[in-house]
Symmetry: C2
Subunit: 306 residues, 2 copies
């Protein structure tokens, strides 16, 4: 069975929440690892509402310091303390975030029973911020009204399955099994070089989820997003407001579709909708007119990275 | 007709929000003046949800810097800017609040189109912080784990009605009408001293709303709360957890009832319930066992100050 890799949308609105929607926050599940992408006001309650595992979140990634992307973070951090968290929490975001959170915690007399660690994003180039056995996180500099980064969440780990019968037949040493699953050939003392394809079977290639918000329409992203499996891209406005989008450094739904098409992604998920759109299906239709395999972010809905 | 004076509950939970409840926030309407008492995370959305007039709020009062009482404030202030507010907003709270909010706004690159003014609360004694023609706000030092103040919102203005027929009969100068409504006698050049009760009629006495949270059970409050019309008092725990209440500087529902009874208030409204109570009717029953005229705070419900 393929590993779980999915994103649950907790907020679809841009700038301000509405009666019906929350600001940006997304819960990512990657085979036993739980991440949060942005943390707008109300995120902790949205997590509870949808029965998600708040305490299992190991990393929170904040794109930038507009409030609709992080005003839920002080509450989340405080509540994790009240819930008795002991595992470290890693917060990735702009440099100024640490000072803000630290001063809020100090004044609220909070004594965290867990380690809170900050990692600063950089906006000068693409950076691999985190890399372990299971996943890597790469920052993508975005063009917005303030320093902002998107994130690529890359699944890592073995892509091929062992061909156990062949391994036994060739006498492959057990300590080489993991390397073989990752595509290595085997060097057998008895049989010399055994090519990987003789001792492994095709598995699932590793997948990538891209989280791109907030950004002006930026074709330089196309190369970075090439062959991404699921691209979340902001689509704040309909294309009839393309000037407004450009002025405020946001993207239209049509432009999000164009980026997805040019990058050849598998699937596009649009969100971060302006509060002016009561009927967001218009934004979906517009993106689909360029890139058919588009879905619209709906709060509480989970989207698999295929 | 009597002037409107009412409080709408936006959050009933203490410490953390739950699936069903929000942290502390209360919208007060006093005849064309709109105030907010505390501003927990999610307040701006609660205001929208209940159709309340966010932009008309002139003052926000923050009791203390535990997150469940103010983590919604940065979002509210930012959204008011996005909604085009131009009227000044006055934020009353602990001294450190201004620095926190200012640094958040600076990093979010917010340029407020309105004046944001901070008034620092003091915790050494009772202080009248605001006084105008319509109302006064008095801070009440509370005993909590950090500096904390409750607030008395006192309706001001004329308490008596003019007896117009009598005024004409006695030839009362028109420029004395306002003073007479406030209880003054008239000094007529022709008729000498005319006692107030000859030229005015009984009206409604001015009312007081008390907002008391967070606090340990504190009988020193009784004198301050004497004859208050509506007392909002925190009731975090059932009395079976009175030791836990004392340790955490909170009050039990029974104790809230005792304070209301001893102070002879007209009505008690309890709130700030621990997330452990799914059924808050137990808290209500406990307070009512001591003070019958108790109501339970319910989100979205409005309570008149009678």
């Amino acid at each position: 069975m393929r590993k779980a890799f999915e994103i649950t949308v907790l907020g679809t609105s841009s700038a301000t929440p509405t009666k019906y929607s929350h600001p940006s926050a997304h819960f990512v599940r990657l085979e036993g690892t739980y991440l949060l992408l942005d943390c707008g006001e109300g995120t902790q309650r949205q997590l509870a509402r949808y029965g998600l595992r708040t305490l299992r979140i190991s990393h929170v990634f904040i794109t930038h310091l507009h409030g609709d992307h992080y005003f839920g973070l002080p509450g989340l951090i405080s509540s994790m303390a009240l819930f008795g968290r002991t595992e470290p929490l890693i917060v990735v975001g702009p440099a100024a975030l640490e000072g803000i959170i630290t001063s809020i915690l100090k004044e609220s007399d909070a004594h965290l029973p867990y380690l809170l660690k900050f990692i600063k994003t950089k906006t000068d180039a693409i950076h691999t911020l985190i890399e372990n056995d299971k996943f890597a996180v790469v920052t993508v500099p975005l063009q917005h009204r303030m320093p902002c980064t998107g994130f690529l969440i890359k699944e890592l780990g073995p892509e091929r399955h062992l061909n156990v019968d062949a391994c036994i037949k060739y006498g492959v040493p057990v300590d080489q099994y993991e390397a073989i699953k990752r595509g290595a050939d085997c060097l057998s003392p008895q049989k010399g070089l055994i090519p990987n394809q003789h001792i492994s079977l095709a598995g699932h290639p590793n997948r990538t989820l891209a989280y791109i918000t907030d950004t002006v329409y930026d074709t330089r992203l196309v190369e970075i997003l090439r062959n991404v499996n699921l691209l979340y891209h902001e689509a704040t406005f309909l294309h009839e407001l393309k000037e407004r989008a450009a002025e405020t450094f946001h993207t239209t739904a049509l432009q999000a579709g164009q980026i997805a098409k040019a990058a050849g992604v598998k699937e596009l998920l649009i969100g971060h909708f302006s509060a002016r759109y009561n009927d967001t299906s218009l934004l979906l239709e517009e993106a689909q007119s360029v890139f058919a395999n588009t879905q619209e972010a709906v709060e509480g809905r989970t989207y698999s990275v295929l």
